[in-house]
Amino acid sequence: MTTMPTTSTSEVATGALTRVRVGAVSSGRVRVETEMEGPATAPALRPMLLASDATSARVSLVPDGAMLLAGDRVAVEVEVGEGACLTLVEPAGTVAYDMDGGQACWSVAITLAAGATLLWAGEPFVVSAGADVIRSTAVTLGAGARLALRETLVLGRHGERPGRTSTSWSALDHEGRPLLVESLDLDEASLVPGILGDHRVLGAVTTFGLDLPPDLCRQGRLDLERGGTLWRHLAAEAHELPGEPWTVSSASSRSGGSRSRR
């Protein structure tokens, strides 16, 4: 797989690009730019500013139009400036529906400047039977940047066979060195020992830049080689995923963020 962000302007022609930019901390209220590009009929995530102050902003990504259907290409670009803190929330989960042989794309590119913080509690992403989704997440972290990102993949709605999703994940530090690179091609064949076992729900909380005590929240905790932690849990239902990793990492991100403001 490639470690380059997969978002490109050519994708905008057939889908929608959502951009959220938070400027560097300076004097006064932090600058927040939100925009959407693409045809008005294309499904998109509409960014809505909920709150902001001198150093932080809170933005909701509201689904606009029915999604996710065959041919949809949803792209999200997030940039957080030096020292600033952005919290992204999703009002609801996303369901990728039967695509009848078609395919959809969901790509996220995150760029964090030095000392920037992003806190994003993603809601469940459900891949219904017959859905086929290419998902990519590409993160670039500046020096001292912090990230806490929650992702929950659900293969099939309740009582349904899994759909298909190819996911790729990469996080690079400010020197371009890789911190975490992963791909997962999931479908019915992934419900085997070693991959997902008989669990259709894969939960992940990925954090970088947080100073977490080594004994905190040991279950499913994968401490990465060059800093960062990935908590991973397998479950039969999304509500069975433990909440502690997110509680711990979001609290640590916030306290880390306030530290940098002093």
């Binding site: 470690t3 060195r177 070693g194 994968l222 990935l230």
Partner: protein, 220 residues
């Protein structure tokens, strides 16, 4: 000399490189309920994930050794694709054991010296050094990694589950075409960025669980 004799030597289970201490997460899997009938499924899961990362890492390291390029980016790429610390630690331990042997077999090889000098050296990089010193092709190196992975689990299965050894060997045999495909797919890789990164969430979780237990037959 044809490279297959060197390959046989390196693939031999009797090699003094601590291979018998490894179960490829099978012990943890059995502890969590894996049955004898599912062992070959686990072997296939490994071929599609950790063995693929290891084979890709080895092949890219071999290219860089022969081209005189630094190995540190290969270690970075491998570590970023190996999120479970116990798996990384196991690879470091096996790398040290293999390095002792490879140094003895190829005392004058600059490739072996290069691998020995890499900070955080992992097993596929030492295997690459052995391949560079022993005249083994990238495709053969990929087959070696895949085959060794299959045999590691199959032979561990005989100690963990009541099995007919003929069954275990037939599982390996049946997965040889998949091992061959894996090797073919990674043979032409040259850049650390290109190393496949397939994740196996349950293997990672088993590796964590196994490292946390004291009652075990295999170290990993």
């Amino acid at each position: 000399m044809a490279d297959d004799l060197m390959l046989m030597l390196l693939a031999d289970a009797r090699l003094p490189v601590a291979g018998h201490t490894q179960s490829g997460q099978l012990e943890a899997a059995v502890r969590s309920g894996l049955t004898a009938a599912q062992v070959s499924v686990l072997m296939r899961s490994r071929l599609g994930s950790v063995a693929r990362v290891e084979a890709g890492t080895a092949v890219v390291a071999l290219h860089r050794l022969r081209a005189g390029l630094p190995l540190a980016p290969v270690v970075d790429a491998w570590a970023a694709r190996t999120p479970a610390a116990p798996m990384r630690e196991t690879s470091h331990t096996l790398a040290r054991a293999l390095l002792r042997l490879v140094r003895r077999l190829f005392p004058d090889s600059p490739h072996v010296a290069d691998a020995a000098g890499v900070e955080g050296v992992c097993r596929p990089i030492v295997l690459a050094a052995a391949a560079a010193a022993g005249g083994i092709s990238p495709a053969s190196l990929g087959r070696l990694v895949a085959y060794d992975d299959l045999q590691t689990v199959a032979s561990a299965a005989l100690k963990l589950l009541p099995l007919d050894p003929l069954d275990a060997t037939s599982w390996v045999h049946d997965l040889l075409p998949a091992a061959d495909r894996l090797a073919t797919e990674v043979a032409a890789l040259t850049s650390p960025d290109e190393i496949p990164a397939p994740s196996a969430p349950q293997l990672d979780l088993w590796a964590l669980a196994h490292a946390a237990t004291t009652r075990r037959l295999f170290s990993a």
